[in-house]
């Protein structure tokens, strides 16, 4: 009998659930929205019922933010959030709303907005526009929109790729939608830091949006297409001997974890080569690389660990590199969700919940009163800037700012 029952397997480990309820204690949504059944009911409990009959699928699962805090808290290793998202993908009927399509199609929106970026930015900041979007599309009018850049990061790289190629060591950069369409400055900061380490940066061969917003907005087939494309593109880089860095914590998690768990896309050939930029930098420094810093750099920094970074377990790398910058006065903010959860917080039905969820974090930021909040996630950045007024910078940008400029 020895070959039987050595270990048990179940989809997303749902059978390992001991019903201890620890996940429910850490779910940010449950704290503010009583309509949400909670991760235990939505996940492992619900799974057994759904296997009995698909009619048991509960549409209230849409309130799950996919923050993964339930998984981080689970002592049994159940992938609670994956169970919930997988159930939504499998059982949710009906096409996604126009609004959800719009919010999730970041590549498309980015391409459309770029040529008219100033106009688009001005328009979306108008109260009139926000009221129309609120009334017509249920996008909450209190939410601020990210600004679009006139020139994409890829365009900027186009002008710089020769000088980058000259570096003896190379790394590929999965920049993601945010850096490309909204905030190429972060991409430039990443290049600066990599160059300071003696590493040149190159683009991947036409990456697409990582697809996280599509996954949670009922567009999983489109997400799968993007995923298959991205994995091919990453494979090409890996075959060329390159490591790939990403600055977005969510893009990193999506490719490494959501692709295989939720979309069934195999990433085994690329997973180990893709890492978050802060981890890359830390590992270089640990191996002996040296960065030169300005003498006059002073910054009071409070670091907020994004939920997806918490799930990756790599917040410690961002923390470490910030701490080692001379002149940085560092505070680690308590682990708490900012509430926006990507496109979630834009939706009228979720806005109030988002703001309530983030309230504790905002309060702590106000108390700490830093010069800048450091955070690796772009949507956290929008949320914190809008809700507290404090500026948010990516740790890579802070690092870039602190570097001695050698001209």
């Amino acid at each position: 009998m020895s070959q039987y029952q050595e270990h048990t397997e179940s989809v997303h480990n749902f059978e390992e659930c001991m019903k201890c309820t620890v996940c429910t204690a850490y779910c940010p949504v449950l704290q503010v929205n009583p309509l949400y059944p909670g991760p235990k009911q939505a996940g492992p409990d619900g799974e057994r019922l759904r296997l009995k009959d698909p009619y048991f699928f509960n549409y209230a699962l849409k309130y799950c933010m996919n923050c993964k805090r339930c998984e981080v808290a689970c002592p049994s290793g159940v992938n609670v959030a994956d169970l919930i998202q997988a159930a939504r993908i499998k059982y949710e009927q009906g096409k996604p709303k126009w609004r959800d399509r719009m919010l999730a199609s970041t590549d498309f929106m980015g391409k459309m907005a770029r040529p008219v970026a100033h106009l688009a930015n001005w328009t979306t900041s108008l109260r009139l526009t926000k009221s129309i979007l609120d009334a017509g599309f249920a996008i909450d009018k209190r939410r601020s929109f990210p600004k679009y850049s006139m020139r994409t990061f890829e365009q900027w790289m186009g002008h710089h790729h020769k000088e980058q190629a000259a570096f003896p060591e190379q790394v590929a950069f999965f920049h993601g939608c945010y850096v490309n369409y909204n905030y190429p400055e972060l991409g430039r900061d990443l290049v600066k830091v990599m160059n300071a380490l003696g590493v040149g940066v190159q683009l991947l061969d036409k990456e697409k949006c990582c697809g996280i917003a599509m996954i949670t907005n009922g567009m999983s087939r489109q997400a799968e297409k993007n995923a298959l494309h991205n994995v091919e593109v990453l494979k090409k880089a890996v075959e060329g001997g390159l490591k790939i860095v990403a600055t977005s914590s969510t893009c990193t998690l999506t490719i490494r974890e959501e692709y295989p768990h939720l979309l069934g896309v195999d990433v085994s050939e690329v997973k180990d080569s893709l890492m978050h930029a802060c981890r890359f930098v830390f590992e270089r420094l640990e191996k002996g690389a040296v960065l030169e810093f300005r003498d006059d750099f002073h910054l009071k920094v409070a670091y907020h660990t994004p939920c997806h970074m918490e799930k990756l377990g790599w917040g410690v790398f961002s923390e470490r590199i910030l701490r080692m910058i001379p002149g940085v006065e560092f505070t680690l903010l308590d682990s708490a969700c900012c509430g926006i959860a990507g496109t979630y917080g834009f939706k009228k039905e979720n806005y109030e919940a988002s703001q309530k969820i983030g309230a504790k974090l905002f309060e702590q930021i106000n108390t700490v009163n830093p010069d800048v909040v450091a955070c690796d996630c772009e949507t956290c950045k929008w949320q914190i800037e809008m809700s507290t007024g404090y500026k948010v910078m990516h740790p890579i940008s802070i690092l870039a700012q602190a570097l001695k400029d050698n001209d």
Binding site: Y4, E15, E16
Partner: protein
């Protein structure tokens, strides 16, 4: 009219007794059912839950097969909320004889069972968990049935028609006048009170214990207890019943049922003394897992929830006391013609599937004795809660947008779930989170379904049948029961009994996640709750 006088007394609260009570009540008789424990505690509550198509018996026992398929179709109509129409597969594995399949199909068809040979690839699509190495597959109209709900529904129908039920009441002897049974002496096992009941006819529907009952009446039935062991897996691995297409052997049926699936079974002769304390042995566990994995390979790495065993009431076909001819068929004995004892009938043998037919036979015999000429209508009349619509349609007809709790209640209660419409938020609170059982559903069971303790409650509502095996719900349910019958001390003992009963089924498979769960439950009950 003496309140202790009835037209018929039925001994035994399993499916046969309940079905007989219902049939008698439908034909206008005043009925009393006496059961020494709770409903469905004998073989009724300890089997596969398989709604046989009869295919399994087609080759060796054509009569049983024909009975099965007819009753299968009837139960789908009259007990829709207790039955899942899953279909079944009879698979041939490389080590089996594929030639058997042809014989099998022919005999099925001859018995009126719709058997269709299908391509193994189609079988794999129909049921993804099936052993991919299968070389042959036959589709049959198997299904699954919840025996507790079925039993409770029959009893409820009888009660709605004036029938009475005495649970936890033991028959201690017969009231006999000459060669006629006039009634029974009983003792209530909860209060210790004794009571006599009278009826011109008494039906012995006590399963394997029927031998002892018959002896008390002064007649002899040759019965042979045959123990069967089964395993429950923690989730519903398959949606279609999977059988082995070969001569019936051990552990070759995997049945999906509600949120779980069950592999079984074995067959071992045991002495009568062991009937009340059957336990599953490590060898039986090994065998069930090993053979089960041949039907669905994922079972070897699926969490096992419980191990349990039941005792089949097998009867000698003739009066041969050595038992050489053991019948699995229905045995209906009129003791007047057989033994010269008037007013006494025994109905036994058979299977869960054919209970209605057994009840019909017994009731026909009762009516003959009473000189009543009424036809049996149990095959056409739906049981309370049964409805031809899907449970989704029923749920939506009661609540426009049913919540998960309401859906789960409808799945179990059928149209009777409409009682819960009066529920307020307090009643919607969940007691059992694994199986989604609310305070309201439990209160309804306590009110209408003769619940004395947590194990009774478990049988009727599935409280404690989920993966936590009572970890959370037992305590909450105990609180509700204490509130309803008012005795906390009794509920303390009940809680301890319930947990020990759950444990009995857990430790034979006490490794891996089961052991983790057990350790956690120990911690919560001993160190936090202080049981």
């Amino acid at each position: 009219m003496n309140p202790n006088e009835f037209d018929v007394i039925i001994i035994g609260g399993g499916i046969t007794g309940a079905g007989t009570q219902r049939d008698c009540a439908m034909r206008g008789l005043r009925t009393l059912l006496i059961e020494r424990s709770d409903i469905a505690t004998g073989a009724t509550g300890r089997n596969h839950g398989l709604l046989h198509s009869g295919a399994r018996y087609a080759v060796n026992d054509a009569e049983s097969a024909e009975e099965c398929i007819r009753e299968n179709m009837i139960l789908r109509r009259i007990a829709a909320h207790c039955v899942s129409e899953t279909d079944g597969l009879f698979i041939t594995l490389p080590e089996d004889d594929l030639a058997y399949q042809q014989t099998f199909v022919e005999r099925c068809r001859a018995a009126g069972i719709g058997a269709e040979i299908i391509d193994p690839a189609l079988a794999r699509r129909m049921e993804p968990s099936v052993n991919p190495d299968l070389i042959g597959a036959v589709k049959v109209p198997d299904g699954s049935v919840d025996p507790f709900r079925l039993c409770a529904a029959n009893m409820l129908d009888a009660k709605l028609r004036g029938g009475q039920v005495r649970l936890y009441t033991e028959v201690t002897g017969f009231i006999r006048e000459g060669d006629t049974i006039k009634g029974v002496h009983t003792r209530n096992l909860q209060t210790g009170e004794t009571e006599d009941y009278y009826a011109p006819v008494t039906v012995n529907a006590a399963g394997i214990w029927g031998q002892r009952i018959a002896e008390m009446a002064g007649v002899r039935i040759g019965m042979f207890p045959a123990k069967g062991a089964l395993l429950i897996f923690a989730h519903r691995v398959n949606n279609v019943v999977i059988n082995r297409c070969r001569k019936p052997a051990n552990a070759d049926i995997l049945v999906p049922g509600d949120t779980v699936c069950i592999i079984g079974t074995t067959s071992t002769r045991i002495p009568f003394e062991e009937c009340d304390s059957v336990a599953v042995t490590p060898d039986e566990v090994n065998l069930l897992i090993t053979e089960g994995a041949k039907l669905a390979p994922s079972l070897s790495s699926t969490r096992i929830l419980r191990a349990y065993a039941g005792v089949r009431p097998l009867v000698s076909a003739d009066d041969d006391p050595s038992g050489r001819n053991i019948s699995r068929g229905i045995v209906c004995l009129d003791h007047e013609s057989r033994d010269g004892l008037k007013g006494f009938i025994s109905i036994t043998g058979g299977k869960l599937m054919t209970y209605r037919l057994m009840a019909e036979m017994a009731t026909d015999a009762v009516c003959r004795k009473l000189g009543i000429d009424k036809a049996c209508e149990t095959a056409e009349t739906p049981l309370p809660g049964s409805d031809e619509r899907s449970f989704e349609a029923v749920a939506k007809s009661i609540w426009e947008a049913p919540s998960t709790v309401q859906k789960a209640a409808t799945f179990r209660m059928g149209t009777r779930a409409s009682r819960l419409k009066e529920n307020d938020r307090y009643d919607d609170a969940l007691v059992c989170e694994c199986e989604e059982v609310s305070v309201g559903e439990i209160n309804a069971a306590i009110e209408r379904l003769d619940v004395s303790n947590l194990t009774d409650l478990r049988r009727r509502t599935r409280v404690g049948m989920g993966t936590c095996q009572g970890e959370f719900c037992a305590c909450r349910a105990a609180g509700l029961l204490a509130g309803s019958h008012g005795c906390v001390e009794r509920e303390r003992a009940d809680l301890a009994d319930f947990l020990t009963e759950r444990w009995k089924g857990n430790f034979p498979i006490g490794w891996g996640d089961t052991l983790r769960e057990a350790e956690y439950t120990q911690w919560v009950y001993k160190y936090v709750l202080g049981i």
